[in-house]
């Protein structure tokens, strides 16, 4: 690929997808577009660029799709799912042994990778969950995104981001160029449109809430407001899971971080949380000094 072709592709991608490639991403373009060019019976990137310049519509779509990196992927960040399997679920299974029912909410379910990853985790531990009623509710703001999540259909690129090949073989069916999540797994998830800024009390209470990488887009007051409302939808012994760059610390007393388990939070007793600021305001220093 010569510099002119690279510059053309850079500008093309910026204009068509918003993708902003730096000057040194030739390898990325080569690794993604060369196979595409070959598949289309073209000699290489040069000929592909000619097709784009000629305005070939299908090629334009293919190039944009091949180049657009997906923000979310299966088992994103891995650690939260290890926590889910090794820490959250064993605790919940013990605590709900009599009730035999679990409710999980993916509050930023996006295109479905997160809820399906959770469903796969649960399937893998199905021996411990025989006869249990499991509900996974995945919500997202965008109807379009929800439709994609509901279909459970993913491109070859998407199923390779974070999804072990054994999981792909076990839980997906190949249809031509795409892969679809098995019906059994799809049936585990309810998809609903929801704006986190609006009331979500109607969803009921949950044992586990995954709310990852969405609060970063909100300002501080909105975050606090959402945390406070999330606290009302979570069981007292439930778990809140946040994204790697998110925390409740310094924002709210409704949740507390679990030490040594990054991204995991427990709700505080609402009465204690409500009482604490009042107490502190009444006689903060005096109380401490009187106790000495």
């Amino acid at each position: 690929m010569n510099p002119t072709e690279y510059e053309y592709l850079r500008k093309f991608l910026k204009d068509n997808s918003g993708l902003d490639l730096s000057a040194d991403k030739q390898y990325l373009i080569e690794s993604r577009l060369l196979p595409l060019a070959r598949k289309a019976g073209l000699s290489g990137i040069g000929e592909l660029v000619q097709k784009l310049q000629g305005g070939a519509r299908t090629v334009i779509t293919d190039v944009v799709e091949a180049m657009t990196t997906n923000e979310t992927f299966f088992f994103r960040d891995k650690v939260p799912f290890d926590h889910f399997r090794d820490h959250i679920m064993p605790e919940i299974i013990k605590a709900r042994a009599a009730k035999r029912s679990i409710r999980i909410w993916c509050a930023a379910g996006s295109t479905g990778q997160e809820p399906y990853s959770l469903a796969m985790c649960l399937k893998d531990m199905s021996a411990a969950l025989t006869g249990w009623r499991i509900e996974i509710i995945a919500t997202d703001l965008s109807q379009e995104v929800l439709e994609k999540a509901k279909s459970g259909i993913y491109s070859q690129f998407e199923v390779q981001r974070g999804l072990p090949i054994q999981m792909l073989m076990k839980y997906f069916k190949q249809t031509g160029e795409t892969w679809q999540v098995n019906p059994e797994l799809r049936a585990m998830i309810q998809h609903r449109q929801l704006n986190l800024l609006h009331d979500f009390a109607q969803l009921g209470t949950f044992d586990v809430i995954f709310c990852r990488n969405v609060l970063i887009y909100f300002d501080q007051d909105t975050k606090i407001n959402i945390f406070n409302r999330l606290a009302r939808q979570i069981e007292p012994d439930g778990f809140l899971v946040l994204g790697a760059a998110e925390t409740v610390v310094g924002l709210t007393d409704t949740f507390r971080p679990i030490p040594e388990r990054r991204g995991l939070y427990k709700p505080n007793d609402p009465r204690a949380a409500a009482a604490k600021p009042a107490f502190a305001a009444a006689a903060p220093r005096l109380a401490v000094m009187a106790g000495r």
Binding site: Y27, L28, E30, S31, R32, L33, L34, P35, L36, A66, T69, F73, K78, V79, Q156, F157, Q160, R161, G162, P164, I165, Q166, L168, M169, Q174, E177, A244
Partner: protein, 129 residues
């Protein structure tokens, strides 16, 4: 430093793969086909092998079978990296002793995720890389 053997008959793919794997902290050796790859493995077993399927002289699947029967041949983590994307090929590869499977086209994220999956790189290196 860990070594990764990149086996592919396309010099462009080898070049792309080399850049990605080197960025993940591996020393890279290249081979154009299965026979050449076996010569490298006899000299010193690499920790990782990124393996194409369709190659002249000896294809990736034949290579894998021979490798796994060699002394110490069970040690390398073998990640297929091929345009063969059918479930039949994937099943055959995994049954034949492969550790992971990449369907071309691939990029750094995919290689990184797969290397992580088989324990070739630690999770922390994902965020660091």
């Amino acid at each position: 430093m860990k070594t990764c053997l990149v086996v592919d008959d396309s010099s462009i793919v080898r070049k792309v793969a080399r850049r990605i794997v080197e960025a993940l902290g591996f020393q890279v050796i290249e081979a154009e086909d299965g026979v050449e790859a076996l010569v490298h493995c006899k000299k010193a077993m690499p920790e990782a092998i990124l393996l194409d399927w369709n190659m002249p002289v000896m294809d990736g699947f034949q290579f894998l079978g021979t490798l796994r029967r060699m002394p110490g041949g069970d040690e390398p983590m073998v990640v297929f990296c091929t345009t063969e994307t059918g479930i039949d090929h994937i099943t055959k590869a995994m049954g034949g002793g492969a550790n992971e499977y990449i369907m071309k086209p691939f990029d750094k994220d995919i290689v990184m995720a797969k290397f992580q999956e088989v324990g070739l790189i630690a999770l922390d290196e994902q965020t660091a890389a």
